[in-house]
């Protein structure tokens, strides 16, 4: 696993930051926020790409998104014992990434210059990394990988879908290893879009709180290495967890508002349970989508009650977006890592910034700090604009669970 986000620049720092309830939502300085209604977000501060990416890798024309995902990939490869990348695995290794704004941050400055000269003498090479598929191409190219490549663009669920799809690539025999995850850089366009929709919190993100007033935007790269169990065991790799299943559904309701009846979210969790062969009773922890918009949190609470019945009240549910903010295209992948860390390190991460209970949100949101717990399974939700819902389910890896057959 590898990550850079607002509360940690690597996995070893991420777990304690989550446990201690660090908040990464602060004033942002990546661009000038004058004119915007909000000024805060989960920015990755002090990111100097060369501190993460060795000199032998070219960074030419790479966007912030490319650099962040590349840095997280390097950490994940080291962690998996795949650095330098073994030649015998190159042919069967694929890349599956949930994309977001891609190189829009860089394109914004290009566009300013483009207008000044009415398009003459514009250096289009500055747009070389504009599209979010660029990140996967950079990764595959740097390590001479010849497996499948795909980039998912379903806004806030892209990172989760990329991980589910990667599982399918391996199960379907198209790849034996997949570098999977998501990346989202901050940029003015995204910030302006969410401001225009009036879904951004005035100060900070308060999931499930009665006075929650919106999300906080963030940025992150989150990469996991998925591998066939036999291949990982043969290499003697350290296994962090197991992906048990995933589900994708659509609201078919509204482009930016979730269906308040929660049908899409319910069906997404049910599809993931079905795929993993588990029953609702088997789930020990829910990493909520929990954006802290008034509608999402009420809807998601309703959906969890619908799927889990009475047990909904006894399953810990937390939104770690209160700490690392909403990282959009990376969110599903970042929260997959949160779920795996919770399983591996035996804790339930908290929901921070929660002050007042909302009668509509009456589950156990883990609001007074992290808890120790021996979790066996974790379910992670990602719901997106366009009504795109993805749910992932992870299991703690034990030799016994290795016998688990889908």
């Amino acid at each position: 696993m590898g990550t850079l986000n607002a509360i940690a620049h690597n996995i070893p720092d991420f777990s304690p930051a989550l446990k201690n309830g660090h908040c990464g939502i602060r004033e942002i300085d990546i661009f000038d926020t004058s004119g915007f209604s909000a000024r805060t977000g989960g920015q990755i501060k002090n990111f100097v790409a060369r501190n993460y990416i060795p000199q032998n890798f070219s960074m030419k024309r790479m966007s912030r998104a490319d650099l962040l995902s590349f840095a997280a990939t390097l950490e994940a490869l080291h962690d998996a014992g795949l650095y330098p990348f073994p030649e015998e695995l190159q042919k069967g290794t694929g890349v599956s990434i949930g994309g977001g704004a891609g190189g829009l941050l860089e394109a914004e400055s290009f566009y300013g210059d483009f207008l000044k000269n009415n398009g003459r003498r514009a250096r289009f090479s500055r747009l070389a990394s504009l599209f979010c598929a660029s990140s996967a191409d950079r990764i595959a190219s740097a390590f001479d990988l010849a497996g499948p490549k795909a980039t998912f663009m379903t806004a806030c669920s892209g990172g989760a879908t990329a991980i589910g799809y990667a599982r399918d690539l391996i199960a379907g025999g198209q790849a034996s290893v997949v570098i999977a995850g998501g990346v989202e850089p901050m940029c003015r366009l995204t910030y302006a879009a969410f401001n225009a929709l009036k879904s951004v919190a005035a100060d900070t993100c308060r999931p499930f709180d009665k006075n929650r007033d919106g999300l906080s935007l963030g940025e992150a790269a989150a990469i996991v290495i998925l591998e066939e169990l036999d291949s990982a065991l043969a290499r003697g790799a350290r296994i962090h967890g197991e992906i048990l299943g995933y589900g994708i559904t659509c609201d078919s309701y509204h482009m930016t508002a979730p269906d308040e009846q929660a049908s899409g979210a319910v069906r997404s969790m049910e599809a993931a349970l079905r795929d993993s062969g588990l029953s609702p009773d088997d789930i020990d922890y829910i990493n909520a989508h929990g954006t802290a918009t008034p509608v999402n949190d009420a809807m998601e609470t309703k959906a969890i009650k619908n799927v889990f019945g009475k047990r909904a009240y006894t399953i810990p549910v937390s939104s770690t977006k209160s700490m690392h903010a909403h990282t959009l295209g990376a969110a599903g992948a970042l929260e997959a890592i949160v779920s795996i860390l919770a399983l591996r390190n035996g804790f339930v991460p908290p929901t921070i910034n929660h002050q007042e209970r909302d009668p509509q949100c009456d589950l156990d949101y883990v609001t007074s700090g992290a808890r120790s717990a021996n979790l066996k399974t974790a379910l992670s939700n990602s719901f997106a604009f366009g009504g795109n819902n993805t749910t992932l389910i992870f299991g703690k890896y034990t030799e016994r669970s290795a016998c688990h057959e889908r």
């Binding site: 694929g94 191409d137 190219s141 010849a146 069906r267």
Partner: protein, 413 residues
């Protein structure tokens, strides 16, 4: 797709509906008639002024009337790429004779490929933001700046709620989407999935493609699209949407539906390539092709046709042709055709090309490669006129700059 082609009807995947909005016509009658007649949609760009640009030709969608497919009250919510996508899906739905009901809607989905998304709307948004500031941006535009908007609008318009996702991986976006959809039908997570590709030809996309040296005339000669021709000098930008509806063979039989062909296999792969450049090696194509053929449970020599990815580019066409020359023994190469001389290059062209392939398989006719006169290699290209042929198995090529590949195998069952 899952290893080995299954024999079980419930796990075999067929193409049962087609819908398309293309420069060569809207709907399968027009598209098919002009495609097999060897017509081309390439002409001077009409929708913006190409005055001092170095390229002036394009393949634009000109005959599309969104009102024929979408309720008037919903038109204003959608931009061009979403309108084309919704219309194509509706045509595919009607073509397959499928009704979406409260009983089946949770098992109907869409997996769409788009190379560049709504570049027109994104630039409009960026323009307001940079010229007037964040307070002036229009919230109604926001949902359409995101690449998953077309699939989202389609699900709302047609009322289905199953799997819904959008893949963007440059020139293999649509092929990847169709391969994923076929795998999901095989896996049984959905009963019906719309799959294909959609992209638009905006002024900013056109100027960027010129800036990257992608468009004809790459050599400052005559501007034209000549796939696989010795005189080729770049592609001509196009646009459009092509959508296929996939279901299991068992489902098609139960519905008594005439299907076009089966998608019997898929292969995906890559080869190390510089970002934004076409691959210069044949290894990636050969490996991916072999993976697809194996996945379909057939042998290389079982193929009678290849619907190629060649678009007239100096490098792409040479590498693709060389790969086929290496894969097949001399004299045993299947017929090869590329329709990009007729439809232009939309980069998610796989959707439109899959529609062409399905029509080709069903009618046992191969469309000609418009623009090709003097082949760069001695292979069996379909030149000048359509060709009748017994096509049992055919390959649809997806090759992207950046070195990504996806091949699909279409079979007549």
């Amino acid at each position: 797709m899952n290893a080995d082609r299954p024999q079980n009807d419930a796990r075999r995947v067929v193409v049962s509906g087609l819908g398309m909005v293309t420069p060569l016509g809207v709907g399968k009658e027009d598209f098919s008639r002009r495609l097999f007649a060897g017509d081309t949609a390439i002409r001077g760009i009409q929708s913006f002024d190409t005055g001092d640009f170095s390229s002036h030709l394009g393949a634009e969608v000109t005959e599309f009337k969104p009102r024929d497919f979408i309720a008037v009250k919903n038109l204003r919510r959608m931009d061009k790429i979403s309108l084309m996508t919704v219309a194509s899906a509706r045509m595919a739905l009607e073509d397959a004779g499928l009704q979406i009901t409260a009983e089946n809607r949770d098992r109907v989905g869409i997996i769409l490929g788009t190379a560049f998304g709504a570049t027109d709307i994104t630039v409009q948004f960026l323009h307001t933001l940079s010229q007037e500031g964040p307070a002036s941006v229009n919230p109604i535009l926001v949902p359409n700046t995101v690449m998953n908007a077309p699939a989202g609008h389609t699900s709302i318009e047609l009322g289905f709620r199953g799997i819904n996702t959008t893949i963007t991986h440059f020139a293999v976006s649509a092929e990847n989407a169709m391969a994923y959809a076929a795998a999901e039908i095989r896996r049984g997570t959905a009963d019906f999935i719309f799959a294909g590709g959609s992209d638009i030809l905006s002024e900013i996309a056109y100027r960027s493609l010129i800036g990257f040296g992608a468009l004809s005339p790459q050599n400052k000669g005559n501007e034209t699209c000549r796939p696989f021709d010795q005189e080729r000098n770049g592609c001509i930008a196009g646009e459009g949407c092509g959508m296929i509806l996939l279901e299991s063979l068992q489902s098609a039989k139960q519905r008594g539906c005439n299907y076009y062909c089966e998608i019997s296999g898929a292969g995906m792969g890559a080869s190390p390539t510089r970002p934004n450049e076409w691959p210069r090696d044949t290894e990636g194509i050969k490996r991916t092709f072999a993976r697809a053929v194996k996945n379909a449970g057939i042998a290389i020599n079982d193929l009678q046709a290849i619907y190629a990815g060649a678009n007239g580019d100096k490098i792409l066409d040479a590498v693709e042709a060389e790969a086929y020359a290496e894969i097949f023994d001399a004299g045993k190469c299947p017929f090869i055709t590329s329709i990009k001389g007729a439809t232009g290059e939309s980069f998610s062209s796989g959707g439109i090309r899959a529609c062409a392939a399905a029509l080709s398989m069903a009618n046992q006719i191969l469309p000609p490669t418009a623009g090709l006169a003097n082949p760069l290699r001695a292979l069996d290209f379909v030149i000048q006129e359509k060709k009748e042929a017994d096509i049992h198995h055919a390959a649809l090529a997806g090759i992207s700059f950046g070195g990504t590949y996806c091949y699909l195998i279409f079979s007549k069952s």
